[in-house]
Amino acid sequence: MVSKEVERLLLKVQKPGRYVGGELNAVIKDKKQVDLRFAFCFPDTYEVGMSHLGMKILYSLFNSVDYIWCERVFAPWMDMEELMREKGIPLYALESGDPLSDFDFIGFTLQYELSYTNVLNMLRLGNIPILSRDRTELKNIVVAGGPCACNPEPIADFIDLFFIGEGEEVDLEVMELFRACRADGVSKAEFLRRCAEIEGVYVPSLYEVDYNDDGTIKSFTPKDGAPQVIHKRLMKRMDESFYPDNFVVPLVEIVHDRAVQEIFRGCIRGCRFCQAGFLYRPVREKSPEVIDAQCRALCENTGYDEVSLSSLSSSDYSRIVPLLERLTEWTGEEKVSISLPSLRVDGFTDEIMNRIKTVRKSGLTFAPEAGSQRLRDVINKNVQHDELMQTCATAFAGGWTTVKLYFMIGLPTETLDDVAYIAHLGQAVVDTYYNTPNHAKGKSVRVTVSASSFVPKPFTPFQWEPQDTIPLLHEKQAHIKESITTKKITFNYHDADTSFLEAVFARGDRRLCRAMELACERGFHFDGWSDCFDLSKWLEIFEECGIDPAFYANRRRSFDEILPWDHLDYGVSKAFLKKECEKAYGGETTPHCRLKCSGCGAAKYGEGVCFEKRQDMV
């Protein structure tokens, strides 16, 4: 529902359907009948935000509570933002059209570091003071969660409280507390202090940070009884965990325009660069029966004819074949197709292929991540060259002619030889195509090789590693380009400048808040979009603030340094990460959770893969 003022702007902007709401299944409540209003903000465009599963889960969950009305807010694209500013129209929520300042909670999901400027920009567009300390009343509580909350420090001055880990329970506990506090006339400061007692809540204003002369952290001290360590929350039993039977179905086309069914959380693999693989431990699966029922309800309620089975590594679902059998019993007749993203090279079998091929043939994407076997062992990817070729041969025999391969450059211990192997691997896939006797007749093969730049992340074994400098990344990109000799391979690479900024924020500390504040004043937004991103402007800001970005991105940290996120506990011990890092240097791999427990620490939650019967135990 949008105001007359907004309607006047709509015909002057691109894709106005993003700004009007009114979609099928959007939740409209009577604001007089609810007690608490939550603005769920996704700090990117509508098309990106509406594709995000976490938002769909929490939106439905919050709205299932009678006294809460949760609405959606997205970042307006540049043309709309400019008009809104010009006409003095504050950022509004799509369901009611009410401005952000009307909401009790303003919640952001932090999916990638480059969206931080959008967080601040959205607050500013909503006329909300960006600094937490400037918001003194018990209203407009700004909260944030999602994977980037694992290092909340670069935005600690702006967010009142962070949700650490999975939000399904803790978010509601905080809202319930807010309701009680408001009824008692409690101050915001006291509300935040009480929130800090809830497990999984981090209130940054309750901690003091001191620094050493060399710029590293000296101490991190809680005050007012806040806990020394904040433990993540997680849903122990996925079958009983809330899952929506309904999605808001967008009127305009979005990035992932389909039903999404979560099949498990976590990942058994432990690839050493992968943050999600450690943050969401342990692996917790849903049963095929529950997935089947939830899938069916979703398709029926949304009208989508495609459902994507979502997880960090779909082929690692322990009962993947029975699951696909179950689903294909009805999907064919209902003309619904199943897509399986995040397939591992070693998980693509004939059986899986034939199941997903029955209705629609989607593209095939694999992520070997590194070109040489040596480097794949360093990062613990545990994919063998022959496996990849075998998998591609299977796919080619099955009629596929295009394969996408994802790699990273700048991985620890990487040499230019390792980098050249990326091109060789692409070539080997091309050769495999022509060596597969029954490949598609008369058709050429297309191999897309994409190389992103490695960004060291908190809570991974590589959290102490320096990122390659921008010139070195450019050199490596050029080296791959030169090493490719066929037109059948298309080579894409990710802009090194953005990866550098990502590395700064990923492992930054509170001193970056000042830079964020300046960036907001100067109207920075959409840093994740090449339309907007300009590293030189960021470098100017860092200089003005006396910040050396290389200190965060390119410095090797020592194992005994206090890291900005050391006060958070995601279940994986620092000792384990250190051991993994040392093994990486020796090119020594670690078996995945189902083969052998490596004692990461996540077993303390008492659930999931840690308590499955392992093959070596039977």
């Binding site: 529902m1 894709k15 359907g17 009007v20 009114g22 179905v249 305009v252 309620n301 004819d305 003309k335």
Partner: protein
């Protein structure tokens, strides 16, 4: 197999979605409704639906239509209305289902209601401005085509018009050429007016009915 024409309104939020988005929303609704619609038989079967005359983004449509093929000749039209509406957003609502009497290509004219206003210009002045435009013998505008810009006289496309002054807007009723061969989008008339006066108007445009070349109501 029976050809049926599904009549609907496109208004509220759904005014702001493009024809492509409308098409997808309709296909999803048809899929969800489980009405026995004929599906295409390609590799990715989907419900087959065509639109006799797409509506521009931003316009309200009060008598829009979509053609589908019904696999069950005896399927009730009432049932189609009920089922589809349960699967559509409030901005798109079906109100009638008929047999497709005329071929889709027969559309030759469309009539529009346009409410024109400007924050700092009186309705009297706007009325005079519109009258002055329509009094011209030719209204030449530059139209972007595949071969670059070309000049077109849109006056010929205006078959009839009525203008009246209301409380805070000027209301125009226009009958314009429509269809695949000779189509006049009312946005072009507003653009011509804006070029004449240098003002930027707020225009609320509604498409009412479609007609064939004999000015019979399109059915």
């Amino acid at each position: 197999m029976k050809n049926v024409r599904i009549w609907f309104k496109k208004d509220y939020e759904c005014r702001y979605i493009s024809h492509l988005d409308l098409n997808r929303a309709m296909l999803r609704a048809l899929h969800k409704s489980k009405i026995p619609i004929w599906h295409t038989e390609g590799f990715n079967p989907h419900p087959f639906a065509t639109f006799p005359l797409p509506l521009s983004l931003g316009f309200r449509g009060v008598n829009e239509c979509m053609d589908v093929k019904l696999e069950d000749d005896n399927y009730s039209f009432e049932e189609i209305i009920t089922r589809l509406n349960a699967c559509l957003p409030r901005g798109i609502q079906v109100f009638k289902v008929t047999e497709a009497v005329m071929k889709a290509g027969k559309v030759a004219f469309a009539d529009f209601t346009i409410r024109l206003s400007h924050p700092t210009t009186s309705t009297k002045t706007i009325l005079a401005q519109v009258q002055a435009l329509f009094d011209k013998e030719a209204i030449v505008i530059e139209k972007r085509s595949k071969r670059g810009l070309k000049e077109v006289d849109i006056r010929q496309g205006i078959r009839s018009y009525e203008i009246r002054e209301c409380f805070d807007f000027v209301e125009m009723h226009l009958v314009l050429s429509a269809g695949s061969s000779d189509n006049l989008n009312p946005n072009l008339i507003i653009a011509a007016l804006e070029r004449e006066t240098g003002l930027e108007y707020d225009a609320d445009i509604t498409r009412n009915d479609l007609y064939n070349s004999d000015f019979e109501l399109f059915r």
